[in-house]
Symmetry: C2
Subunit: 201 residues, 2 copies
DNA sequence: TGTCGCATGTAACCCGTTACATGATTTC
DNA sequence: GAAATCATGTAACGGGTTACATGCGACA
């Protein structure tokens, strides 16, 4: 039933579709950006590919919505087989753990070979970048989706409405990470700047 | 002089070589594992490829050390051109920021579609995994390399011996990250377990 | 008039991973 | 004797990114 051809990103798309209800590839990409940015990224290119792949697998069904003024929307919905696949994913351990890349930190690590002024510039840019992320996360946190009920068969989730607890916790993770990162960046910048001042005297 | 063909991983290899002195591809891979794991990973396959690429660019030179009992070691050393490239890297802003993937968090996010017991199992495995990382980082932290002096021309770095301050700070980042992550995981597990107990009553 | 947003895809490239390949020595 | 370590590479595959391609409506 479930072949080798399902990757984390496949489940990302499938999960969003199951969570937020039927939508177009364009909308899935938007949802990825607002909801999953802290932990996974996707390009629209990937999203469209995965949707077609899953349609072939029978995990999603497509319905074309004709529009005159705009290109047609292709609305995808999770099928029962798709829901089964999504549930089975959770029992297929182990999941791949954290995998990160960060060129800023790589540069910093080899800071001994850098002009301190250049290093400081890199760090300041990184601080601005991460501050922007925090702002974006906080904005997104305001409109977290509620847990879907019924059709998707989410088992035994607390039916009290309000944002889905799992999404909330994940969003909190994103903010914790950025908090920690920004704190570290500011300390790192301070130490580099101290070094800069020393070099001038 | 510096073409389009230098990626973060290129500089990772180059930096380690500049930092730790001439060594073989095998050693570079080891160094990657002990020193850079928190922020960047490399396979031995990549390392050998990058070394050859950089040799073609003139950034490193190779000297074959004949051995009778073992396969020959090919020891690579950074050339002056290599040092120039390394220094120039720091002024080529902006650097790519944090890019992370985490299947555990992705699963958690869609926890509404999971059997709570399965989710708990995933989280427990993740906790064990990250605890192991912390142990490894702490062991590695004990043997941080000192800042090289002289030949590599690291400009104006405090010549007081002891571990390199940039490497130390980076290692601290790794531990901060794992700390934060483990804290979050434990809270997440607790909330899932609470849900489990509720489901049983 | 030009760019941004909506809306959908395809094609190429490439970094990164996995697997293939070899072979001696040390350790259990 | 089997497995792990030292030591070096090549080949294939594949997920992810970037660029190509199209076209209308709205807004400045």
């Amino acid at each position: 039933m479930d072949r080798q051809d399902a990757y984390p990103i496949t489940y990302g798309v499938l999960g969003l579709l199951a969570f937020l209800g039927p939508m177009s590839g364009y909308d899935v990409k938007q949802a990825f950006d607002v909801a999953l940015t802290p932990i996974w990224n996707a390009t629209h290119s990937q999203v469209y590919t995965e949707l077609r792949r899953m349609a072939d697998l029978g995990w999603v069904s497509m319905q074309r919505h004709y529009q005159e003024t705009r290109p047609d929307r292709k609305v995808y919905a999770v099928t029962p087989a798709g829901h089964t696949a999504l549930r089975q994913w959770h029992t297929r351990q182990p999941a791949h753990g954290l995998h990160m890349r960060d060129e800023v930190l790589l540069r910093f690590t080899f800071g001994a070979f850098a002009d301190p002024a250049a290093l400081a510039a890199t760090l300041r840019a990184a601080i601005a970048d991460h501050e922007q992320r925090v702002a974006a996360y906080q904005a997104n946190q305001a409109c977290l989706p509620p847990t879907p009920v019924g059709d998707g068969a989410p088992p035994a989730a607390a039916t009290a409405d309000g944002p889905d607890p799992f999404f909330s916790e994940m969003a909190r993770f994103g903010l914790l990470l950025e908090d920690m990162y920004l704190g570290w960046l500011r300390e790192a910048l301070a130490s580099v700047e101290a070094r800069l001042v020393l070099a001038h005297t």
